[in-house]
Amino acid sequence: MSALKQRIDSLLVEPGCATNHAKSDKARKEGCKKPLTPGAAAGGCAFDGAKIALQPVVDVAHLVHGPIACEGNSWDSRHVYSSGPQTYRTGFTTDMAEFDVIYGGEKRLYRAIKEIIEKVDPPAIFVYQTCLPAMIGDDVEGVCKAASERFGKPVIPVNAPGFAGSKNLGNKLGGEALLDHVVGTIEPDYTTDCDINLIGEYNVVGEFWQVKPLFDELGIRVLATFCGDARYRDIASSHRAKAAIMLCSQALINIARKMHERYDIPYFEGSFYGIADMSDCLRKISKLLVERGAPADLPARTEALIAREEARAWAKLERYKTRLKGKRVLLFTGGVKSWSVVSALQEVGMEIVGTSMRKSTQNDRAKVTEIMGTDAHMFDELPPREMYRMLKESKADVMLSGGRSQFVALKAKTPWVEINQERHHALAGYEGIVNLVAEIDKALYNPIWAQVREPAPWDIEEIELRGSAHHG
């Protein structure tokens, strides 16, 4: 059994995962491998997932070892922001050609690493393995090891070839690369009693900057973010944190659990989306930090901050309540946790007519059921055709989803708001939920909807003629 296979098998029986806990022993041993259906599959591959998880490390050069498809077709497509270095936005790839397939791509990879060090000199290089070199047997780990030794610089292999599995698995394989090669390799300059890690926060369109001032005000220092706006050094010295928050469902649960085991960093699962969730996160982290030696007044200061921020957010949301009351939302997302958005939208009086639970855990399901009072509106899958039908039949006033289904909504002439990781609006924190509601309001009340839904004059005549023929 290959090392990669073993690694994948261990990730598929993740003990920290609530879904796994809920399974019988036998089912748990089988793992959560979901075979993909040829001709009816959608979604990214493991390489895609690894890249999503790690590319937000902004000062590192991300080098994709593979043919042009893997990087050439996909680079520069995610809006994760950096407060400093821009190295992560450069697309590096070995662009393997026929010659490399026949003779192996290891030499080209080594030379590529050398070129990057000579030209860019980043603090580290992440090398992503892809299907083709994995299949022809390129030893990426070996090349990275040799390059690290030769150039005296961390060259980190990320072994997540696309055909290993889904995007979600790829997130975790990306996390494994950090655990194996980066975390714990550098000591921080200093530590405090309030150092935390954020796991699964990517700083999409800079949204973490809406949350960071809250931590700053409380004196909580974010030692490392996995991996939004992160520096290599942050991740490498993250093992000295006192506590961690695991965000983004369970994309990087393996990092949270293993850092708990190895470095005794307790964690909890939280979310920055929605007022209640944001407050809950702040409460839990301050409580956890006090247990770990933080000043005893932290919870009280946290409560004061929460009270102030919640009041401010509610005041901002007030103007939307009459405008959005009773508006029906179809929520279709995997990344941003469904239940936290569900509760937030209900807070302003919107009605949820459906929500997808594709990437959600049993816990999430229970929470959604609790919030909505029923599980009748949960979808595991909603094929585009079905989604279109719902919208066309006016079963919802607005759809919230990822970019891929944007045009299903628009073709059904239905307002649409983007909420997944390619989005252009910062949705995190107290500010974020106000932004989301403002975006929904802006979409719903745009004057185009009435115009584009109006049939052409000659079609109206036809409809009327048909109508009168029926009556006659």
Binding site: G72, F92, F407
Partner: protein, 455 residues
């Protein structure tokens, strides 16, 4: 004649190139009731899908055989079989275009053989054509994949015939043409009383229209029954050198003579095209085109002040690079930096001293000192760093609206292109003028934000 310089780097920096399989997939998307199927891991499809959705702002039907590590090693027969059956059941398309990828080609999957076996075994696939385009990711690039798919369709779908229909013309459209360009070409050909069969026809499928219902395959595009009639046309007009092999295959199969137009942008090129249509149809050139020709002449007169001696850097797919380089040369500008993502015979004829096979890293390195950058949206980072005005051309253009409707072929298209690019030059002229005031001469001029550059 341009000297073509091959790249020597091991590491591509900021790719200009895209892969052959998605080029082939886009060609299949120009067919009516079609669904392209990439034979590879699901990421191959997902990346292509996202790329096209961002560029066209449309739903894109695109499927995958979802190969895993194990099925790759064992061979993909079963995955191809299952994919075809699932697609047939769910979408019932008229055409499934199968494109191979890097792993399935390196493994050596005999897809053509698979398809024979699957066809024999499953009569329920009746009514759906399946065409295979071999497109390993590690050979060539986007336009090569497109050309492969068109050649494969001609090979598989056009029967040999001796019938001739004198008013029928084949148009083989290269991947550098927008849906708007294709529409313009169709209207022009039809204006001469000729019947064009356009392959592939993105103007029907990806022109941004609203269908009445949701379809899991393309709506609009070249109809299969029209492809089958291509053998009886009077002439094949190939637009772009990339279409030459497909036109030659068609000639070999059916005897339809061919004429390759390496571009349809620019006065002389348009003249040749219109004259050919007049000849073929034995019609007078309609007044409309005489008028448009005059408008283009006028646009060139008005615009040449702003193009003269401007230095331009272009990075684009080979036929687009060829077209744009000659457009700029025709207007008096000089292409001082030309970069193509992959080799192509047409590159030797690009209007520039040299053409580099390379990436946007090379582009950025050699474009310094130019007055204008021309490439697809990925050039935005280089434009921001260099502080040079940036005019977007090619796929993907994900940060501008209406890219499908941009027209740069024909008299009218060339006229509008002169205006659009001329305006970019003119804006710079005005931006500089503002700084040449007596006070500005004594203090440091403010740093000017590059027009059109940015996030």
């Amino acid at each position: 004649m341009a000297e073509v310089i091959a790249g020597k780097k091991a590491c591509t920096v900021n790719p200009l190139k895209m892969s052959a399989p998605i080029g082939a997939a886009l060609a299949f998307l120009g067919m009516e009731r079609a669904l392209p199927l990439l034979h590879g891991s699901q990421g191959c499809t997902a990346f292509g899908l996202v790329l096209f959705v961002r560029h066209f702002r449309e739903t894109i039907p695109l499927q995958t055989t979802a190969m895993s590590e194990v099925t790759t090693i064992l061979g993909g027969l079963e995955n191809v079989e299952q994919a075809l059956l699932n697609i047939k059941k769910r979408a019932d398309p008229a055409l499934i275009g199968v494109c191979s990828t890097g792993i399935t080609e390196a493994k050596g999957d005999d897809v053509a053989g698979f398809l024979k076996l699957i066809r024999d075994k499953h009569p329920e696939l009746e009514g759906t054509e399946v065409v295979f385009a071999p497109t390993p990711d590690f050979v060539g690039g986007f336009s090569d994949g497109w050309a492969r798919a068109v050649t494969a369709m001609i090979d598989a779908l056009v029967p040999r015939t001796k019938v001739r229909t004198p008013w029928q013309v084949n148009i083989l459209a290269g991947c550098h043409l927008t849906p708007g360009d294709v529409e313009e070409i169709r209207e022009t050909v039809e204006a001469f009383g000729l019947r064009p069969i356009i392959l592939p026809d993105l103007s029907g499928s990806l022109d941004g229209h609203i269908p009445e219902t949701f379809l899991p395959h393309t709506l609009g595009g070249t109809r299969l029954e029209d492809v089958r009639e291509m053998g009886s046309s009077a002439l094949t007009i190939a637009i772009g050198e990339q279409m030459r092999p497909a036109a030659e295959l068609l000639e070999k199969k059916t005897g339809v003579p061919l004429r390759v137009f390496d571009r349809l942008t620019g006065l002389a090129a348009c003249d040749a095209f219109i004259a050919l249509l007049a000849d073929l149809s034995e019609c007078e050139v309609p007044a409309k085109y005489r008028r448009q020709r005059s408008q283009l002449q006028d646009a060139m007169l008005d615009g040449h002040f702003y193009f003269g001696e401007q230095k331009v850097a272009i990075a684009a797919e080979p036929d687009l690079l060829f077209t744009l380089s000659h457009f700029f040369a025709d207007m008096g500008a000089t292409v001082t930096c030309a970069v193509a993502p992959q080799e192509a015979p047409v590159l030797a004829r690009v209007a520039s001293e040299t053409v580099r096979i390379g990436d946007l890293g090379d582009f950025e390195q050699h474009a310094g000192g130019c007055d204008l950058l021309v490439t697809h949206s990925h050039g935005r980072q280089a434009a921001a760093r260099l502080g040079i005005p940036f005019w977007r051309a090619g796929l993907p253009t994900f940060d501008r609206l209406g890219v499908a409707h941009k027209v740069s072929v024909g008299y009218r298209g060339t006229r509008d292109l002169v205006f659009e690019v001329g305006n970019v030059f003119m804006e710079q002229l005005h931006a500089h003028e503002q700084h040449i005031t007596p006070s500005a001469l004594h203090s440091a001029p403010p740093v000017d934000a590059p027009a059109g550059a940015g996030h």
